[in-house]
Symmetry: none
Subunit: 398 residues, 2 copies
C-alpha cells in the first residue's frame, strides 16, 4: 500500500461519486453536449465547486469501461488489468468466483476450416440463446473441469470453466480477421499447459455440436481471464461503500473492488436514486452510475446526449438535498457523439464540498473545468482528493 | 542525482524564494484571505508574473511543515522523510548532528501504571523547565550513551541521546490514548535492539526522578529519529544559499538541507529583511520565511490572515528593489481559517523574472493562479523552474 494508507481515518465525511458514463464530448457548432444542455440545478452550485479535468488512463489513450472505472475508484488501471473475459461476464451479469476462468465467445462461420465470418452474420439473440442451450446440454465437463455457456447479444457469449488448476495465460482462439483458420490455443507459461489442452478440446466439441448450423458453425474464444486479485475498496480506503448501477457491467465493476451492491436490482436511474436515499445512512461512500450519456454518444446522437444530461440535471437538486459532505460529478471517459464511441479526451470533474476551494466558475462544462483549481490530472488520483475533502486523511509529517 | 544535475551551471541569476506559510485558503463569502487582502505592491507586478498552483506532497494530502518545505526546496518529501523527533528538536532550536538520536517527549500523568493524562494537564512551561533541569541533573548516561533533555512549551520536551550504535527503528513509548499502560519500546530491526533496551531503561529512570510529582509523574517518548541523510542544497543545485526565518522550525529545515543560517537570530520579519539586504551579495539563493499567515489560519482568524498578507505586501516593494533576478512568492501548504489547520489545497505561486512568461493576470490570488501558464504541478518541481528562470541550467541534448 502507498504512504497515504497509514494516514486514513476511519471517520469523516460522506462521499458520493456520480459517474455520468461517457460524459465528456467534443464540440459540434462550438459546444459539447454538456455545454449545450440546460442544467439549472448544476449551474446553481457550480460556482462553489472545485473543477478540473481527469485523464482516465494516459494522455491520448481511449479506455474501456473497466480501466476507466478502476481509475475513478483509485486503482491504477495499468497495474490492475481486468481481463476482457471477466468484463464480458460482468456485462451479462454473470458472477465469477476466484479460480474460475472465463472467456468471451463469438459465434462464427467457417468453411472448409477457414473462418469466413467472425460474427456468424450477427445472428439473432434468439438463435444465440437456442445454440447456448444446445451447447450446455451437450458439453458439461472436460478432464474434471465444468463447462458452462451464457448468452450475450447477437453473436456474443461467455464460456466459464470451473475446476482445479485453470490458468489464464493462453493465446486466443481467434484468427483476428476472416480468411484464416482458427488458430490452436497455446500456453504462454508452463502452468497453462493443461488449460490450453482443455480449451482446444472444448473448441472441437463445440464445432461438433454446431456442425449442422448454417452460419454459427464455429466459435472464437478470446480474453481468457480469472478473477483479478484487487485489494478491496473498504480495506484500501477504510470506508464502507456501495455501488449503485442499473447495468450489469457497472454493478460488476463495483463488486469487483468489493463494494456492496443493493440486493434489489435497479431497472433505471430513478430506482438507483431511491436505493441511494434508502441506504444513505448505511455507507460512507457511494458510487452512482448514470449510463444514458454514454449510450447516446455511442449512437452518435448529440441531441439525445444533451437530453440525457438535462434529465440527469433534473434529479440533481434531490441529490444535493441528501446531505453528502462531498459530491463529485464526472465521467469515466469521454464519448463524443461526433466519434460514436469512447475517446481519450479528459473528463470534466466538479467537486462540491464545504471544504472545497470555490473556483467561481459559472457552469459545469469541459471549457470551464480546465480553468478549475484541480488542474488536469490522472483520474486515479481522484479518490485521494475525495478523501481529502471529506477530511478522512491525517496530516503527513509534522 | 537526476539527469538535470549535469546541466547545472555554477553561475546565473540570483533567486529569492519567499514562503508565506500556510498562504492558500478557501473562500469565506466568495474570497480567500489572499483575494480579500489589499495588496497594491504585489498587484503592480502581478501581470508580469508567471503563475500556477503547486501540490505540496500529493493530491488530497495535507502536509506538515517538514514535508511541505522539503518539497519547495526540491526534495521529494516521500523520499526524504524527516522524523518527528528531529522536527520537534528543530522547532525548539536544538542542533542535531549525524548519529544523534532524538525523540519528542510529553510529560504525562500515570496512576497505578495506567496513563490517565497524555499531557499531564498541560503543565506550565515554567514547571516544565524545572522538571527538565531535575532530569538533566539526575540522568546523564546509560550504557555509554549520553542523555540530555530540552524544554518545549507546556508539557512538551525533547530528549537527545548521543553515542555509538544508536538506531531510530524502535516503537513509540505512547499508548496513543489514556486508560492504557505505557507500552514497552520494541526494536523494529535487529540493529535497534540496544537502543530499545536503553530507552526502556531511560523511561524507568525518568519515572523514578518524577515519582513524587503530582501530575507530571510519567512521560511519553515518540518519533525517535536521527539526522536524515539529505544531499546538501549547494551540492544538489550548485548554488550558495541562505535560509532566513524567525521561527526555529524553519531555520532548522533550512539548515537540514545545508543552507547557511544568519549568525544573528531574527526576531521578526523586519529583521529577516534586514539580514536579506545585508547578505544579498554573499549568496545566490535565499529562502525567506514569513510565518504569520499560517498562525492566523491555524487560529481560524480569517481577518487576521488578511491583515498579515497586507503587512507582507507593505514590504514587497522593498523586496522588489533588492534586484533579484528571480522572485517566487508562494506558500508551503494551505491553512484555511475555515479549517483552522493545514489543508491539502494547492498553493498559489507567482514567479517574477525578466525571463518569465507574463501571464497578464491582474492580481496574485488562488483564482488567478490557476489560469497561470505554470499550471497545477507538484511543489518538488519548483526548484527546477526557479533555476530555469535564473538561466542556471544548460540545454539538455543538442
Amino acid at each position: 500500500m502507498s504512504f497515504w494508507h497509514e494516514l486514513l481515518k476511519s471517520e469523516g465525511g460522506k462521499i458520493l461519486l456520480v459517474v455520468l458514463d461517457g460524459l465528456g464530448g467534443i464540440e459540434i457548432d462550438g459546444k459539447t453536449a454538456l455545454e449545450k444542455a440546460y442544467t439549472p440545478n448544476m449551474d446553481k452550485v457550480a460556482p462553489f465547486a472545485s473543477m478540473g479535468l481527469t485523464i482516465p488512463v494516459e494522455y491520448g489513450i481511449t479506455p474501456g469501461s473497466g480501466p476507466a472505472h478502476l481509475a475513478l475508484f483509485g486503482y491504477d488501471p495499468l497495474e490492475y488489468n481486468i481481463g476482457r473475459g471477466i468484463l464480458e461476464a460482468l456485462g451479462i451479469g454473470l458472477n465469477i468466483a476466484k479460480g474460475e476462468l472465463v472467456a468471451r465467445g463469438n459465434f462464427a462461420t467457417q468453411q472448409e476450416g477457414i473462418i469466413i465470418d467472425r460474427r456468424a452474420g450477427r445472428i439473432s439473440t434468439e438463435l444465440n440463446r437456442e445454440l447456448i442451450e444446445k451447447l450446455n446440454s451437450h458439453i458439461e465437463n472436460i478432464e474434471g473441469i465444468d463447462i458452462s455457456f451464457y448468452s450475450g447479444i447477437e453473436h456474443r457469449f461467455v464460456v466459464k470453466l470451473v475446476g482445479d488448476g485453470l490458468n489464464p495465460n493462453i493465446t486466443d482462439a481467434d484468427p483476428q480477421k476472416p480468411g484464416y483458420p482458427l488458430p490452436t490455443v497455446k500456453p504462454l507459461t508452463k502452468e497453462a499447459g493443461k488449460t490450453a489442452r482443455i480449451v482446444n478440446h472444448l473448441i472441437l466439441m463445440i464445432e461438433e455440436v454446431l456442425r449442422k448450423e448454417d452460419r454459427a458453425n464455429s466459435v472464437l474464444l478470446r480474453g481468457f481471464s480469472t478473477y483479478p486479485d484487487i485489494p478491496t475498496f473498504s480495506n484500501r480506503y477504510k470506508i464502507s461503500s456501495m455501488g449503485i448501477a442499473a447495468y450489469p457491467m457497472y454493478i460488476g465493476l463495483a463488486s469487483l473492488v468489493g463494494m456492496d451492491i443493493p440486493s434489489l436490482k435497479c431497472k433505471n436511474f430513478k430506482e438507483e436514486l431511491n436505493v441511494l436515499k434508502n441506504e444513505i445512512d448505511n455507507y460512507d461512500f457511494f458510487f452512482l452510475h448514470y449510463k444514458y450519456t454514454d449510450k447516446a454518444g455511442e449512437d452518435g446522437d448529440f441531441e439525445k446526449k444533451v437530453k440525457h444530461i438535462e434529465a440527469f440535471d433534473m434529479t440533481f437538486s434531490d441529490i444535493l438535498d441528501m446531505g453528502f459532505d462531498v459530491i463529485a460529478v464526472t465521467g469515466d471517459h469521454s464519448t463524443p457523439a461526433f466519434l460514436k464511441g469512447h475517446s481519450f479526451h479528459p473528463n470534466p470533474l466538479m467537486i462540491l464540498s464545504k471544504n472545497a476551494r470555490e473556483d467561481g466558475l459559472k457552469r459545469f462544462s469541459e471549457k470551464n473545468a480546465r480553468y478549475g483549481s484541480l488542474g488536469v490530472f490522472y483520474a486515479k488520483k481522484l479518490m485521494l482528493l475525495l478523501l481529502g475533502h471529506a477530511l478522512r486523511l491525517k496530516k503527513y509529517g509534522a
